[in-house]
């Protein structure tokens, strides 16, 4: 028996396949792009190939993330908040709070017994999300993945006063023209983003253990800034992008096993991996 979790985020699409003992069979990441449905199809195909499985071998599929409604072959949709909570607690059984910083959302999750019990999310705005770093990296002419390491070389932290993504870019350009060092500006940017995320998390209340996930958790500068802002221990999974897809796969397994145990018939979708259209 095999199970799949498909997480279509605003920036990246992730698929994970597991077996009934939670062994990981494959994990695939790809950029989401504008055509959610067709990409879900493609990333799923790659994941199956990696695991040497056919689509018909998968007993149950859960889709999550911003594009969860656009996965034509998924049996069930569950929000990324519940999936992250489930994924995080499978990796860190003592986790009570998780912060996920994604491309367009930042979510703070309260977890109890593997289940999401409360949450807060950022307002509808790029400030406080991964997009903030993406756009400032572009404005500074550096690669996103280098940002964190460069910031660690800072000898002082520049104060960034405005967290609006557009205004922060203007501020950064002005700071450069004043001759401030790039690494110091980056340290300031990370601290500014971290303080915004920390304020959001405090609205929810932080209980240890605390786990940081999402693409931004791969940024070393950001992990450091978050630790400083929150003044507590912070756990980061090896693959922080994949906790949503992992949680989705585990919830797929749990949904399926529960139905089997209770002798219920579980409706599943067509397993054909065809390109979906918006008319289907």
């Amino acid at each position: 028996m095999y199970f799949a979790g498909v997480d279509i985020g605003s920036t990246m699409t992730k698929v994970m396949l597991i077996d009934k003992s939670d062994n990981l069979l494959s994990a695939i990441k790809g950029p989401t792009g504008p055509e959610h449905r067709q990409l879900a199809n493609e990333v799923m195909r790659q994941a199956l190939e990696q695991a040497s499985l056919q689509i018909d071998d998968i007993s149950y599929i859960v889709a999550t993330g911003y594009g969860r409604l656009n996965v034509p072959f998924a049996d069930r949709q569950i929000t990324e908040l519940s999936c992250h909570a489930r994924g995080v607690s499978s990796l860190f059984p003592n986790a009570r709070t998780a912060i996920d910083i994604g491309g367009q959302d930042t979510k703070c999750l309260k977890i109890d017994n593997g289940k999401l019990i409360n949450f807060v999310m950022n307002d509808k705005c790029a400030a406080g999300t991964g997009r903030f770093l993406e756009l400032t990296a572009a404005a500074l002419g550096i690669e996103l993945q280098d940002m964190g390491d460069i910031s660690l070389k800072a000898d002082k932290k520049i104060q960034i006063s405005n967290l609006c993504t557009i205004f922060a870019q203007q501020e950064v350009v002005a700071l450069l023209s004043h001759g401030e060092k790039l690494e110091n500006i980056l340290a300031g940017l990370h601290a500014a983003l971290a303080s915004r995320v920390a304020a959001l998390a405090r609205r929810l209340g932080i209980e240890p253990d605390l786990v940081l996930t999402g693409g931004v958790a791969k940024n070393t500068g950001m992990v450091k800034a978050m630790k400083e802002s929150l003044d507590c221990e912070l756990f980061v999974p090896e693959e922080p992008l994949l906790t949503g897809a992992l949680g989705a796969a585990i919830l797929a397994k749990e949904t399926y096993m529960k139905a089997v145990a209770e002798g219920e018939a579980l409706p599943t979708k067509s397993r054909r991996l065809e390109k979906a259209t918006f008319f289907s």
């Binding site: 949709q77 929000t79 908040l81 519940s82 959302d105 949450f119 999310m121 509808k124």
Partner: protein, 388 residues
Amino acid sequence: MSDKNKGLSKAREIYSTRSQRVRELKAAGKKIIGYPCVYVPLEMLTALGLVPYRTYGDIKEPISEVDRALPSSFCPIMRSCLDCAMKGKDDFLDGMVTIHSCDPQEKTAHVWESYINYPYFHYIDMPITVRPEALEYFKSQLNDFRKTLEAFAGEKLSTDKLQAAIKSHNRQRALVKELYELTKPPPPLISGTEIVQVVKALMSLPVTEGNDLLTEIIDEVKNRTDKPEKKSARLFIWTGTLDDTDVMKVFEGKANVVMDESCGGIRSYRGEVKITADPLEALAKYYLYEITCARSFRQATIGETRKDYDRDLQSRFGYLKGIIKEWEINGAIILLVRYCDPFAFEIPDLRDYLNSLGIPSTYIEYDYTTGALAPMRTRVEAFLETIS
């Protein structure tokens, strides 16, 4: 029922076309008076043969004109309402009555008057706290309103006519309450989405026509076979105004919405105007004391030096306790339109009160555009997952 000219189908039709009936009435010589807020005493318009017509914003209409008139960090609903007016959306109106229901309404009233030329315009300065001195002032304001209305209509507002109008509007309130009784069974016999359509239709029709429509709808809903599907949660929506079915559909995707505190829902129908010798005073009391919008501040401890928080919560939200029990509500969505201060200030206390009743709630802010719907859906579904 597929007859477009009856019951729910008719309400759905009016919800999307809205002004067709008042345009017909205007062609037949009637005067149509717009109002942007349910605090305007419609009875006074009805009594003089004027047709009240609620003006709304539109979440699907991109803002293009109003930036000339109002700042961008301002109530998006008022911005959208005035934007629609500046584009001539309700150009059939013979007049407009606005009221100080909140500061953006008050400020917008004066801007509105200077941008749009109606034959009749009146602004009612309604007090914001619920207390005896406020009632006296509000009565004097309604008296001023009476005078300008009489001058516009060329007719005196007699006590008899006003009493008759109060009875018609009370009839509408009773019928709406009867309709909400039909959301009590699981599953409800009528959906929140249908109620948004019905209320918008009522606010687009003369009161007697609205009452006829409601009578048809109640009869249809009681006997319907195509009732809403039973979902996992029974929700209560607390918001300023929820006036678009696309927003309601986000809440109803995986739950049944069975009750609201919204002026696109039951808010202006919950109470009843008393029939007394002084109808103007009865109206003042009803609108100041009875409507449970966050704009009216009803503190329990006026004149006392120490604040008793529990008694205060009881005074402001106590009416919800019975509703939550009777409608078997198991979750509340607090929907805030961005920059809406009167509602924002109530939220921490409202959540304390709901917590004390053991009702889980979630708070969602949106900017009154369709762009907010996808993130809203994620928040609503995640909330439902936490309470399932």
